[in-house]
Amino acid sequence: MKLPIRSLFLKIFLWFWATVIATGIALILTFILQPRSVPSRWHATLMETARYSGAIAVEEAERGGASAASAYIERIERETHLQTCLFDLAGSLIAGNGCESFQGMISHVMASKMSDFDMRYGIARVALPLQGSSGHEYIFATQLPAGPRAALGINRAAIALQWGVALLVSGFICYLLTRYLTTPILRLREASQQLAAGDLSTRAAAGMERRHDELGDLVRDFNAMASRIEDLVSRQRQLISDVSHELRSPLARLNVALDLGRERKGDDPAFDHMEQDIGLLSEMIGRLLTLARLDTSAAPVPMTPLDLTELVSQVVRNADFESRERDGRVRLTAHERYFVRGNAELLHSAIENIIRNAVRYTKSGTPVDVILECQNRSNVSFAQLTVRDYGSGVPESELAHIFQPFYRVADARDRQSGGAGLGLAIADRVIRIHGGTIRAENIKPSGLQVEVLLPSWRSKGDFHKE
């Protein structure tokens, strides 16, 4: 189980728990805030208890005088922590301590000759007139436990313990309930993340499909959706692969027929055009197949340790040679040799695509800068390749799309400039297969910068020991 510090988990848990606690507090408050609503049977019992203790106190007072009564009352107070007092009929104190609080009730009893009852904070207070065996009359006043405090007693440690237990138990139950509700949601979220990351075979755990509640329905629907997506995507990829493959046969025939034509009719500019376009078609089909292969990636790509600096400078040399025809330059800045683990052919084509793209769109007469350097991100060492052109850049809103197949920025970048719009898409797939990232951003005042991060592969020394 993951650490449940997820917002939904916390919310549900806290709400449930708060509800339980609030209910408890409300119950207690009802007792405290309704002072005179003690049920009548409790009332009778309380009066009976008071009358009984009172009778004993009066008897003690008549037999042994005020001191005997005081001893008895002190014993009650010691054992029960309940305040008890004995007065004579005139209202003067015979025994008991701190009896001023009963003053109001005593006056009431003296006036009415009736018992008085009062209740506050779960403690009942009773004052009643009593007659001793000698015929003397007394007034007995005492506190009696009633309500929740009657059950709990008034020991503070006990109250704290019982509150603690109540909190723990309710907290535990709320935790279980919340976990029961949120775990499937978290699992489902993990599954959909994996699905979004490209693992189309992901399904939510089979165990959750057996739930008969709404979450079970959700999981079943999710899995059905995932199957459908997987099916659609794989069919689309298969289609691209099949179509490209089938296009190759007529293209192969066209190639031979064209060559036959040349042999018979001699050289003609029309033949050159045809050959150029056949070449372009052939290249596009090749790239489409590469893309389809990278997307399906059924078989793992074979990877070996390789010298990235060497590979990049090779590409730069070729690109530089070609761009000199249009007054351009491709400049490489690399401070040391960087090694990565990868597939040389794929990486070469990815980097070539990125650099050629920059050469194509940089303004004529401006250079393309290629920088290779080291980057450390959270203790992992990366080789960072930056390719910057001085062209007009790409509108911000379209930056995210330039790695999609056949995507073309609407303005300026017309088909006349060549290429099939597959180069950056291939680069993106290749870099991701190598565990790297690729992103593009506009640079002020003008130009586009493509940044590639590839995980570094050990140091040069290790490389040569292999």
Binding site: A252, R253, N255, G286, L289, R293, A344, E345, H348
Partner: protein, 229 residues
Amino acid sequence: MDRILIVDDDVELCRLLAERLSPEGFVIEAVHDGPRGLERALSKEHALVVLDLMLPGMGGLDVLRRLRAQSPVPVLILTARGEDVERILGLEIGADDYVPKPFNPRELIARMRAILRRTAHVATPASPLVAGDLRLDPAAREVWLGDVLLKLTSVEFTLLELFLREAGRILTREHLTEAVLGRKLGPFDRVIDVHVSNVRRKLGPAQGGERIKAVRGSGYLFVARSETK
């Protein structure tokens, strides 16, 4: 006039190729399925077999495997890209070289010529080359390891002959490709490496270690063992 067998299920392509190749001095026979292709290839009537890997009936790799069990005839495979693994497998099974589809006919002709030049090359009756327990007889085109006759394809034979003649010297991959396959080394071209590894596998290890050593960054080296036996 070299007789060439083309095994490809694209009938129209075969017809066009025959038309294109005959002025170049090739006699073309075309068959369009695997089993028939294997039968014709085993007839020993052809100087070269051009084999497509995608064939109905029996796949090109199966045809090649069965052909190699009985015949060292040179084989050039045609592959559509996207079959990289099959291309390497084809070379390992014993194809001489490959041409990706769609191909430029001139490229195909150049590769065919290179292979034919090598096999037609009749060395002036030379004395056998010997290295330890290994003996190569250029006249009979036979290689003996101890008293076992090795089955090498013609490209493997040429490669080994080159190694023996230049024993103890580093041969670059560029040089080997040009000398053995008759063409320039392309980018990411692993054909020569597959051939070298085939030869290595067939020779097995010598008593003193590897017979053919890879030299990182430059090429291969046949270890001369004047000190052994």
